[in-house]
């Protein structure tokens, strides 16, 4: 159905030129799910745009985008209008942004139904509701009247899928449908696409930067690197025995809940200005030889639709390198650097009473040399916890002390004793301050002399493996990875007692993420300070945390040594999280499946998870759950002892 042949797109703008795609060829058949993976900027979205004939202005495209025999690139306006939606429909990368903010989602869906399925009036409303229901939206009649901003991220993504499906396309394109969603949701959303291919016989092109997460639902994968296809093949094959060094690097960069270590590949993806005459991966490739650097490898066909563009295909199956942890650091009890006691945080609404209860009684303790992992779904209060520790929000009850000092009563210098690394690497650097200025900020507060400041900034920079030349740059001139290194350098430069990492890698590309994780693992291992590492991605925590706490709607639901919690989860919520985390190689079906999305309203009484937990009883609904010791870890669920049995039952 879709048959892209030798598609090259060069975008010409005054003063710069980008070869977004170079000689890309692949095809999608009806009923087939094809994954398109690669790092940010690899050209994935460009492929999607080419398929619907919406290349950005200034594009020069060659080659052919065949669709049911016609060439999309050369369609006239009328043909394009027909092709878009009915032929190929995209689910956009950022569903919230892709929904028109001033029109109800129902109207938007009906617009599609009317246009492409010729429906009218009540009939359209009816099928809109049906479509909503079929993508898993509860209470569709009411949701039809919602505006996009009233939807949660997961809900918006579902609406987006229903919009695309509403066009009844032959080819459904999903551009990063799961980025930014929680693990539990990701799995569910991906299943939707598989479903579309299987039941409606649609072709599906699934675009993602994260191979691991989409691998499960794809029939075939296409790996893009710098606008070129480096490897294509059946999903299982490419995942288990990737032949291209880049595919292998990509896979190894993904942290693994099983405890597999990330192996970082140095360097970043090049921005090409013209179709390459060499292997674009060569500079980062451990196997590269001279031929790689001078000649572009042809795409060679291997067995069963497997093709590859590499002079040095690798053959060994990708083995999981298990981390040998240096446990000594954890056992060596240092002084206490952080103590949080029964902290509550309420965000007050601007008018009247009420507010949002973001943290509900959290207690923590952390010593130097220790690393505490904090995990939980989006919105569970992780960032609030970080801000609380940093003194950026005031606890409405309870106490927080850093290095023995109550955070509320700290002087300017004492405030620098705790440092934070932020989620958004570029956004956390002041746009009009140079890198040197940003890094030196904590030193300025500590009244360090100018000369001393420069020296220490350089030292911190050196540790981040960055060059001095970067010091005079401004944040917008940095890549995400560089910016995050600067952020870490800034946290380190004042030799603080405590460093809080708030999802430091979630905004980064897979391979860059691996690099940063290595740096962080190194920093966290320092005995001089304690670290708190916050992540929604369980796997990243496993690599180097000593202990881990699991947050759910502002409460700690489980806590314990990292291996214990990961290998023997007690709380149903932890189990669900771990179960839905994608794993390379083995597909691990979740043993606990949560119903519904995270909803703040659920936190009212009793166990917060009650509304979503498959094992819920009346006791759960009425009784507040507190942390109880179960083996080495503690969990806030009274049914823990019964769970293995219950899970076994639901299995059969």
């Amino acid at each position: 159905m879709l048959d892209i042949e030798d598609l090259s797109v060069v975008i010409r703008r005054p003063g710069r030129q980008v070869a977004a795609l170079s000689n890309v060829s692949f095809s999608v058949a009806p009923g087939e799910v094809v994954g398109l993976v690669g790092e940010s900027g690899g050209g994935k979205s460009m492929v999607a745009r080419a398929i619907v004939g919406m290349l950005p202005s200034g594009s020069h495209a060659t080659g052919r985008v065949g669709f049911d025999g016609a060439d999309v690139l050369r369609m006239d306006a009328a043909a394009l209008a027909k092709h878009r939606g009915r032929g190929a429909a995209i689910c956009f990368q950022n569903p919230r942004g892709a929904l028109s903010p001033t029109r109800t989602v129902g109207r938007q869906l009906i617009d599609r139904l009317v246009t492409h399925q010729g429906m009218s009036g009540d009939r359209a409303v009816e099928s809109a509701a049906e479509l909503f229901a079929s993508v898993g939206i509860r209470n569709p009649g009411q949701r039809l009247r919602a505006y996009p901003h009233e939807l949660s991220g997961g809900m918006a993504q579902r609406v987006m899928i229903s919009l695309a499906a509403g066009c009844a396309p032959s080819l459904l394109i999903a551009d990063e449908p799961t980025t930014g969603l929680d693990v539990t949701l990701t799995a569910e959303i991906l299943r939707q696409f598989r479903h579309a291919a299987d039941t409606d016989g649609r072709g599906v092109l699934l675009i993602s930067h994260d191979l691991a997460s989409i691998a499960e639902v794809c029939d075939r994968v296409v790996v893009l690197y710098a606008g070129t296809v480096v490897e294509t093949g059946p999903a299982a094959k490419v995942l288990r025995e990737p032949a291209h060094p880049y595919t292998r690097a990509l896979l190894r960069s993904v942290p693994d809940v099983g405890g597999g270590r990330v192996v970082a590949t140095a360097g970043g993806m090049p921005l090409l200005t013209a179709a390459p005459h060499d292997c674009p991966f060569a500079p980062r490739c451990a196997h590269a030889t001279d031929v790689c650097r001078t000649t572009r490898p042809e795409t060679e066909k291997l067995a069963d639709g497997w093709s590859l563009a590499c002079f040095h295909p690798q053959e060994a199956p990708l083995s999981v390198v298990n981390a040998e942890k240096s446990d000594n650091a954890a056992t060596e009890a240092g002084r206490i650097v952080l103590r949080v006691e029964d902290a509550h945080v309420v965000y007050r609404s601007r008018f009247g009473s009420g507010g949002h209860h973001a943290l509900r009684g959290v207690s923590l303790e952390l010593r130097t040399g220790e690393t505490l992992g904090v995990v939980g779904e989006s919105g569970c209060g992780k960032s609030t916890l970080a801000k609380l520790i940093m003194g950026l929000v005031e606890p409405s009850a309870g106490a927080v002390a850093v290095a023995g000092k109550d955070v509320r009563k700290r002087s300017r210098v004492e405030r620098t004793r705790a440092q934070m690394v932020f989620q958004d690497p570029i956004g956390s650097l002041s746009p009009r301050r140079t890198v040197a200025d940003s890094i030196a900020e904590p030193l300025r507060a500590a009244k360090v002399s100018t000369a001393d400041r420069a020296r220490r900034v350089e030292a911190a920079l050196g540790r981040m493996e960055l060059d001095d030349s970067i010091l005079t740059r401004y944040p917008h001139e940095l890549s995400g990875g560089q910016a995050q290194r600067i952020g870490i350098a800034r946290a380190l430069v004042g030799e603080p007692d405590l460093i809080v990492f708030d999802e430091p890698t979630s905004a980064l590309d897979v391979t860059v993420q691996a690099q940063i994780l290595e740096v962080i693992a190194d920093v966290a291992a320092d005995a001089g300070h304690g670290s708190v590492f916050i992540s929604h991605d369980l796997a990243t925590v496993r690599g180097f945390a000593d202990r881990v706490v699991v947050l759910y709607l502002g409460r700690v639901v489980e806590e314990g040594p990292v291996d214990e919690v990961f290998d023997h989860p007690r709380h149903p919520y932890t189990r669900a999280l771990l179960g839905s985390a994608p794993r390379l190689g083995a597909t691990r079906a979740a043993d606990v499946q949560l119903v519904k999305d995270l909803d703040e309203a659920d936190a009212a009484t009793g166990c917060a998870l009650a509304a979503r937990c498959p094992f819920v009883t009346d006791t759960c609904r009425s009784q507040e759950q507190t942390l109880q010791p179960y083996g080495e870890s503690r969990a806030a669920c009274w049914r823990v002892p019964e769970l293995p049995a219950l899970i076994g039952k639901s299995d059969s």
């Binding site: 995209i90 956009f92 929904l99 028109s100 903010p101 001033t102 029109r103 066009c167």
Partner: protein
């Protein structure tokens, strides 16, 4: 319901602002040099005459007493008595406010409609000749001083072409229009006076045109910019990528999304337009609010100045309130 609560809350917020305006104006007119009493007395008046006149207007009272009296009057809708004319300010003001509001409302309404239409047209043809031409022309209009433009329009429209009535009023008195609101076109419509309607409309053309030309550019720029933003937005691209027809795109996805930011700007423009009518009123012999307020100020007619500033401020804040409500209606994201 929520809207009402919002409006209620905002109205409460207006109280300190209006009170501030009241206090500030009250003090300001009194610290200004110039004696309102002297300007109504002949040159032969003695100090005793002046004192009598001062007493007549309560200006012999201590300042705090004057202020309390004024404030008390405001609560009962009594704006005091004009020193110049000796008649109640509220009556005079009612006669003057109508014509000016009529002028400004019509002009801003036309400018807004024109801006929406041209702005979207222009954005859809972004960076083509038509777009550039429209924008440059709007900028030109925006750069001409209103009084100058007014004169040119009179020279062309009245003196040279004779298409429009003489710039000496708002309606032909021969049409025997019964004034109700002071806004002649409205009055003509209300009383069903056909000739007056035609005459009032003819008198409105040039002053309205002057104002429209003056305020079009910022509105146009805003509409065009937000239309472009919408056109470049993912949301619009998504709708287009799903092959929705032009009409649906324009109506459902472009227009309303474009307009969300307009109300507050329109309010601002309305505010400045009220301010600048004083010039247009002069040029077109439009005996409106601005001329009245200006004259009051020149003769230090305290009650007139106080009332006119308060009313302008009130119009201003109310218009902003309306803009916020319209914004809330247009943009579902606004939480009120």
């Amino acid at each position: 319901m929520r809207i009402l609560r919002f409006v209620g809350r905002r109205l409460l917020q207006l109280i300190p602002v209006l009170l501030g305006v009241v206090v500030l104006t009250f003090l300001l007119v009194r610290v200004l040099p110039g004696d309102p009493i002297r300007s109504i007395l002949g040159p032969n008046a003695t100090e005793a005459d002046a004192a009598a006149a001062r007493a007549r207007f309560g200006l012999d009272q201590p300042l705090w007493k004057q202020f309390l009296d004024y404030l008390g009057g405001l609560f009962t809708g009594n704006f005091g008595t004009s020193i110049q004319s000796g008649s109640p300010v509220s009556g005079e003001m009612a006669l003057r406010l109508g014509p000016t509001l009529e002028l400004v409302v019509i002009a801003v309404a036309i400018a807004v409609v024109l801006a929406i239409w041209l702005g979207i047209w222009s954005a859809r043809r972004a960076d083509r000749l038509g777009d550039h031409t429209v924008r440059i022309f709007a900028l030109f209009g925006n750069s001409i001083p209103e009084f100058w433009l007014g004169l040119v329009l009179i020279l062309v429209g009245y003196a040279a072409l004779g298409w429009f009535p003489a710039p000496s009023g708002r309606v032909d008195p021969d049409t025997n229009l019964t004034p109700l609101t002071g806004a002649d076109l409205v009055d003509a419509v209300l009383t069903g006076n056909g000739p007056a309607m035609a005459s009032a409309a003819a008198h409105l053309v040039l002053p309205v045109l002057t104002l429209v030309i003056g305020v079009l550019a910022p509105l146009l720029r805003s509409v065009r910019a937000s239309a472009l933003e919408v056109l470049h937005s993912e949301a619009y691209a998504a709708a287009a990528a799903h092959g929705l027809p032009e009409r649906t795109l324009l109506r459902g996805y472009l227009r309303r999304a474009t307009l969300v930011r307009l109300p507050s700007l329109a309010a601002l423009v309305f505010g400045t337009a009220i301010g600048s009518t004083v010039l247009v009123e002069y040029v077109y012999s439009w005996q409106g609010f601005g001329q009245w307020a200006l004259r009051g100020l020149l003769y230090r007619d305290y009650p007139v100045v106080q009332a006119s500033v308060l009313i302008i401020a009130l119009c201003y804040v109310l218009i902003f309130l309306i803009a916020d409500v319209v914004h809330a209606v247009l943009d579902p994201r606004v939480r009120i």
